[in-house]
Structure formats: structure tokens, C-alpha cells
Amino acid sequence: MPVDRQRVEQFLFREAQLMDEHRFDEWLALWSEPALYWVPSNRDDLDPAREVSLIYDDWVRLQLRIARLKSGFAHAQEPRSRMRRLISNIEIEEVGDGEIVTHSNFLLAELRRGKQDLFAGRTTHRLRAENDTFKLISKKVLLVNNDEPIDNLTFLI
């Protein structure tokens, strides 16, 4: 079955909106095991067994990330970031077994405590077709500024 581009885009746009609006449970529900939520530090290609990442969440760590954000005590998100992001330059690959890989660029405006920051990067999503939609299997985010000081990345990226 050929990939329906519009359905893929709708998934990515919806994910972006859930992140922008801190809809943690709905965002988490997009995921399926075995999950990997990965934001490399310092450079794009690294060996996670030897080099540190900003985020390297497996399925359990991902649940804990959301538990923390929902705890009411995540001070770096009090007040919360106000965010909107654009998703663009979407490329779609079919990789077999009902899975697809997408590459897309994003530009995120994030406002908190009177200061607006821009984050940009390229994200690779691995998706598995399920019923009428997709499940997120893995996500790797290559931040343009991953080798610069990043003061607060406690929202979903």
C-alpha cells in the first residue's frame, strides 16, 4: 500500500501541536515500544554508548520524563514555555514491515519569562502504521545549536 503523504503530514503536525500545547498524555499516547527519543549533544552523529546526549530516553525513561513534567514541581517549566513550531521540508521513506521513516525540519519559537528563543533542527521519525494512523517508534532530533550552551530544554522538542 503506497504511503499517503497527507496522513503522514497530519501525524507530524499533530505531534507538533501536542508538544506546543504541553498535552503530555496525548503526546505519550503517540508512542509505542520499543521507544527511543534521542537528542544528541555536541554533534549529530555519535555513539550513545560512549558519548553523552541531551536526551536518550528509552520506553521507561520516556514515561518518567512525562511523570516529572506532570508532577507540578518541574520548576524549569513554571511558568511553562509558550511555544509554536513550524514543520517543513518533509521527506518520506518506506522501509518495509509497515514502517516508514520521515525527515523534517522544524523551527520553534519558545517564550518564557520574557525571553523568546528560536530552536531549529531536523528530525527523523520512525513510524509504524497502525489502524488509520501511526505509532511513533523512534525520534531523533538534530538541533542546529546542539554544541552551544542551551539554557533550558525541558519542554518537548
Binding site: 537528542v39 549533544s41 555536541n42 554533534r43 555519535l46 550513545p48 554508548a49 560512549r50 558519548e51 553523552v52 546526549s53 541531551l54 536526551i55 536518550y56 528509552d58 521507561v60 525513561r61 514515561q63 518518567l64 520524563r65 511523570a67 516529572r68 513534567l69 508532577s71 507540578g72 514541581f73 518541574a74 520548576h75 524549569a76 513554571e78 519569562r113 554544541d147 552551544e148 550552551p149 542551551i150 539554557d151 533550558n152 530544554l153 525541558t154 522538542i157
Partner: protein
């Protein structure tokens, strides 16, 4: 603030409180850069960051840019990053490998040891021009302990050995009893900054009172893990920071530590935790000695998530598996770099777990560090309040004791903060007479004079 208080640090740093101008006054910051960061010993970097001949990394000593480089013979040099001709920086990349450094203004070229090797069109200079006098300026004093490289821009003063004192034991412990070559510092850097004074991060790093409040969300994540993934091992984990027991210790010279026994970061990893194994005979010997000294559980935990919690005055913090470096940028802006370490003799899966333990709590997207930074900014904002311009640091003052020549308090006591400030005051009051004469002249209250 200063015109009222002058630069009389005796009145600004009291035993049980410190004045908020110490976090906000740009003149005090300038004096700190001079007296603490330029004249005193500061941590610069670790030999493991530049493992091969020609490897270099850009650093700063106080506000001054420095190249830390290993030459072809393996010797480490600290060279001020400034061409001796017209002053452009000669090295631009944060890290890399080089055979020489060339200034791209007029082409002067320097060897890895700093010697000036090439000057285009030498005939334009007269007889008095001596190439050997015009190498990159070397940092006057460089010292090393187990691969940790410290420096002072002052040609004279206390030795590094005297400065480190009892903190050396904690460096040794952090290094897993390894020698300089066995600590790997090749795992990248977590970098962040915050809008606040550098001392806020120093104080907080050794604060055993804040975790249950600042890190309540981390505790929540930990509880969730224990609730949802209960294993016999997890059941042994202390369920919240109320069980956080231990001591604060003032090691002297501004070095302070939290001495506690608790797994904190590793419980957020998958189960079961990988068995701690050595991959070399030397490593096995190190592992055996750690087990003998601390018991098998504590030794394994130290290797999976780190074993010391120490501040080494003024800019190095050893927590977990990381070397954390404070870089003051201005009185209210600070950059922080976290260098996670691996141990060459540890099994690869244990080294990987070290990184996952670190990421749980540290870095811009972690469950711990960003909440600390948020609090630093709130404190800096709070410094705008000038009525009652004091920060209280009296906790545990009544129950401090002397043990083994050290001042020791309970884990949540402000013994550590007081220890940092006591030394800060001592260093800042050097040359106090000259400073006072400036104050007497009135208008010069913000002028800083070298003593």
C-alpha cells in the same frame, strides 16, 4: 550598595549571612576575576580531553582565552590565545588536532609548545627582533593531579599541592582510583548558562538542604519507576530525599563536599543494572580495592553513577561521573560545562550506564539540573530587593563539629556554603590595605586596586 558598604568584605561576609551585593556588584566581580580567577589556582581541563599529540581544546582562565594543547612529546601546554604581533586569536576551533597555530592576520606561526616558528617577510624587522622572545605567552604556573590540570596566571603563590590539600583524596576517588591515562574525557560536553552570579552554582552544588524541594519532580519520577517497575533492587532504593543522610564537610581552602551514601541517578535506568566488571588486570585491581574499601554495593554504585560530591574552589565540581566547570561571564551571567567521564578499565556496558545515569539528572533537558538553574535565576531576581539585603547561611551553625581537623555538619547544613565564603573572604581581603585607601578617597569606592 558599594558606596554604603565600601569594599570592606568583613562587613559583607558574616559567619551566618552574606550580603546580596556580592552577587550583583560588577566591581566586586572584576575584583573576583583578578584575585580569585587570575591570581589563584583554577581548574582548566583534563589531560583526557586531549589524548593524542596535537590535540587541543580552547579554555578560559577567568576571562582570558587559553589553548590547552598536547605537543608531539605528550607534554601539555597552556598558551594564551593571542598573537604576539597584533593580537588576533590564533586558534578558532573549540577543539581539534593541529600541527601548529597560525595567525590569519599577518601569518605568524607558532609551534604546539608556543614557540614562534614563522614570520612572513622577516627582512622587515631589524636586528633587535628576537623570534625566541615572541612565542605565545605561556600561563605562568601549571600544575597537575591525576590528569586534572590547574593553572595560575600569577608567577608566585601557594603551590597546587597546598591549594588542593584534602580535596586531592576526592579527586582520586572520582577518578575511580585510576591514573591520568585511565580517565576518558571523550564523551562530549553538556553546556548551559544562566542569568545569575557564578557563586549561586557553587553554593547550590554543595547544598544538601534543597533536593527535596528543588528536585521534587525528580523524586516523583523515581517514585513512578519504583511503583511501576518494582524489582527487588529498586525496593532497596531510598524512596525519597527525606532519606538523604550524610554529612557536609569543609575540607579547607574553599573546598567543600557532601558525604553521603545513596543511589540517586542510576535507579532511572533499566533493570537489572549491568554487573560492574573490569576489562583489564589493572582495572580488576582498582575494582578490588574499591570493593575492599566501600563494599561491593557501594563500589558498584560509585562506578555506575559516580562516587563523590565535591566543590574544588573556585570553579571545579565533581558530581556523579562529571567534571563540572563554572565559567563566570559577568556578574549576573554564568556558563556551565559538564564533562562526563568514562573509565578505560570498565566494561563498555557499564560506561554506557554511566552516561545514562548522568543524562537522568544533568544537562539542559534532564530531570534535575534545569530546575537548579531556574532557582539561580529566581535568586538573582530576588537580589533586586534591597530592604534586608542578606542571604541567611546559618543553618546548622549550632551543631557543627570538628572531626579529623575538618568542620563537619549534617547533610542539610550550610557548613559547605560557609566554607566557600570563608575562603572567598580570605582571598578577596588580600591587598585589603590598598583597597581601603581607595575607599577613603571617597569617589574611588568602585575602583579596584591591586594589593
Amino acid at each position: 550598595m558599594l558606596s554604603r558598604n565600601g569594599l570592606d568584605y568583613e562587613s559583607l561576609v558574616k559567619e551566618d549571612r552574606v550580603h546580596i551585593s556580592l552577587y550583583t556588584n560588577p566591581a566586586i566581580f572584576t575584583e573576583e576575576m583578578d584575585k580569585i580567577f587570575h591570581r589563584g589556582w583554577v581548574y582548566v581541563g583534563h589531560r583526557g580531553e586531549i589524548p593524542h599529540p596535537g590535540d587541543f581544546r580552547l579554555k578560559r582562565i577567568g576571562r582570558q582565552p587559553v589553548i590547552m594543547v598536547r605537543d608531539q612529546q605528550g607534554e601539555v601546554h597552556l598558551l594564551l590565545n593571542r598573537c604576539r604581533h597584533r593580537g588576533a586569536t590564533v586558534c578558532q576551533r573549540e577543539q581539534g588536532n593541529a600541527r601548529s597555530f597560525r595567525c590569519m592576520y599577518h601569518g605568524w606561526t607558532y609551534l604546539l609548545n608556543g614557540d614562534l616558528s614563522g614570520v612572513p617577510a622577516m627582512d622587515g624587522y631589524g636586528e633587535g627582533f628576537k623570534r625566541e622572545d615572541l612565542g605565545l605567552v605561556k600561563v605562568p604556573r601549571v600544575g597537575e593531579h591525576r590528569g586534572f590540570i590547574f593553572a595560575s596566571l600569577s608567577p608566585a603563590g601557594t603551590t597546587l599541592d597546598e591549594h588542593l590539600g584534602r580535596a586531592k583524596e576526592e579527586i582520586d576517588l572520582f577518578a575511580g582510583m585510576s591514573n591520568a591515562q585511565e580517565v576518558e574525557v571523550v564523551s562530549g560536553i553538556h553546556k548551559y548558562s544562566y542569568q545569575g552570579n557564578w557563586k549561586l552554582a557553587a553554593e547550590n552544588s554543595m547544598d544538601g538542604y534543597h533536593p527535596s524541594v528543588v528536585h521534587a519532580s525528580f523524586a516523583q519520577a523515581l517514585m513512578d519507576k519504583i511503583t511501576h517497575v518494582p524489582t527487588p533492587e529498586q525496593q532497596r532504593v531510598d524512596r525519597n530525599f527525606a532519606a538523604f543522610r550524610g554529612n557536609t564537610k569543609d575540607l579547607g581552602n574553599g573546598h567543600v563536599m557532601l558525604d553521603y551514601r545513596m543511589r540517586i541517578y542510576d535507579p532511572l535506568n533499566g533493570d537489572p543494572a549491568p554487573e560492574v566488571k573490569a576489562v583489564t588486570p589493572e582495572g580488576q585491581a582498582r575494582l578490588n580495592s574499591l570493593v575492599q574499601r566501600f563494599g561491593a554495593d557501594k563500589a558498584a554504585n560509585m562506578l555506575r553513577e559516580g562516587g563523590t560530591h565535591t566543590f574544588i574552589f573556585p570553579n571545579l565540581i565533581l558530581i556523579g561521573i562529571q567534571m563540572r566547570v563554572l565559567q563566570p561571564l559577568s556578574v549576573d551571567r554564568t556558563e556551565v560545562s559538564l564533562y562526563p567521564t568514562l573509565l578505560k578499565w570498565l566494561a563498555p556496558e557499564v560506561n554506557a550506564i554511566r552516561l545514562r545515569s548522568h543524562e537522568a539528572f544533568f544537562g539542559s533537558a534532564s530531570f534535575g539540573g534545569p530546575d537548579d538553574s531556574e532557582i539561580f535565576e529566581r535568586v538573582q531576581d530576588g537580589c533586586a530587593v534591597e530592604l534586608d539585603p542578606w542571604q541567611l547561611m546559618s543553618r546548622g551553625l549550632h551543631r557543627e563539629r570538628r572531626e579529623d581537623g575538618m568542620i563537619v555538619g549534617d547533610l542539610s547544613d550550610e557548613t559547605t556554603q560557609r566554607g566557600i565564603w570563608r575562603h572567598w573572604k580570605k582571598v578577596m581581603m588580600q591587598g585589603e590595605v590598598a583597597t581601603r585607601s581607595v575607599r577613603k578617597r571617597g569617589a574611588g569606592a568602585v575602583a579596584i586596586k591591586r594589593g
